[in-house]
């Protein structure tokens, strides 16, 4: 069972042309929050609003660690360890089809990871007779503490 503290593990996604993307297996809460932050813009009244156009870019930059993409000169376009601005600039310099392909690959990976986590939570929460939180060891009617159902 995975820890609640995601280790910095990566997986490799293959896209067209044999190119590869190295992406984070799971995001931490901090990485997810920073990703969300990048989708917000301040309106005239100062209120924060989501900019839908930024969602894809924020998701990509949250997950993407490295890639095998090369420039016109055949040299790899380095993004590993580079500041966010450099990674975003490289992504913005892609042709729209390549950007969309990378976005799709990462979104599929994100969904797969979320589904895997949901399955894991189900297994963690039942089947072995010890729920993570329980009111009483003898409680057989599903009673529990706290709010909610």
């Amino acid at each position: 069972m995975d820890s609640r503290f995601p280790r910095p593990e990566t997986v490799t996604l293959t896209i067209s042309g044999g190119d590869t993307l190295t992406v984070k297996k799971r995001l931490t809460a901090g990485e997810q929050r920073k990703s969300f932050e990048r989708t917000y813009v301040a309106g005239i009244d100062g209120a924060l609003k989501v900019n839908p156009l930024q969602i894809g870019l924020a998701t990509i930059t949250a997950f993407l660690v490295d890639w095998s993409l090369c420039g016109d000169d055949g040299a790899r376009v380095v993004i590993r360890g580079e500041p966010l601005e450099v990674v975003e600039a490289a992504l913005d310099a892609l042709d729209p089809e390549s950007f969309a392909e990378i976005k799709h690959a990462i979104e599929v990976h994100e969904r797969a990871m979320l589904e895997a986590r949901a399955q894991e939570k189900k297994l963690r929460g039942g089947g072995n007779g010890s729920a993570p939180i329980s009111a009483s060891p003898s409680g057989s009617d599903g009673g529990s503490t706290g709010s909610g159902s």
Partner: protein
């Protein structure tokens, strides 16, 4: 980064990494090799209090086209200064 005859390396930017995550951001740093041991001295710019406690850590210093990397074997982390013993360079 410059390498001297006395196997001393130094630079102005580097990181201690836990996997792909930056645990400690360093400014001025120097490494010396003495009796087969690599010792790192560096100025600390930023510390991630959680990542810095994880192991294994890797010292990574940028170079043209990539990074120099050493595994961190032991670490003394102060507010502004860092001293670490490094294993043999990995790349």
């Amino acid at each position: 980064m410059n390498a001297g005859f006395a196997l001393r390396l130094h630079g102005t930017a580097a990181s201690l990494l836990w996997g792909y995550r930056t645990a400690v951001t360093l400014r001025a740093w120097s490494i010396k090799k003495d009796e087969g041991r690599w010792t790192l001295l560096a100025t600390v710019e930023r510390v991630d209090a959680f990542q810095a406690r994880q192991r294994p850590l890797l010292f990574a210093a940028p170079r043209a086209g990539g990074y120099w990397c050493w595994p961190v074997e032991s670490l003394q982390l102060g507010d502004r200064r860092l001293i670490a013993t490094l294993g043999p360079p990995e790349q």
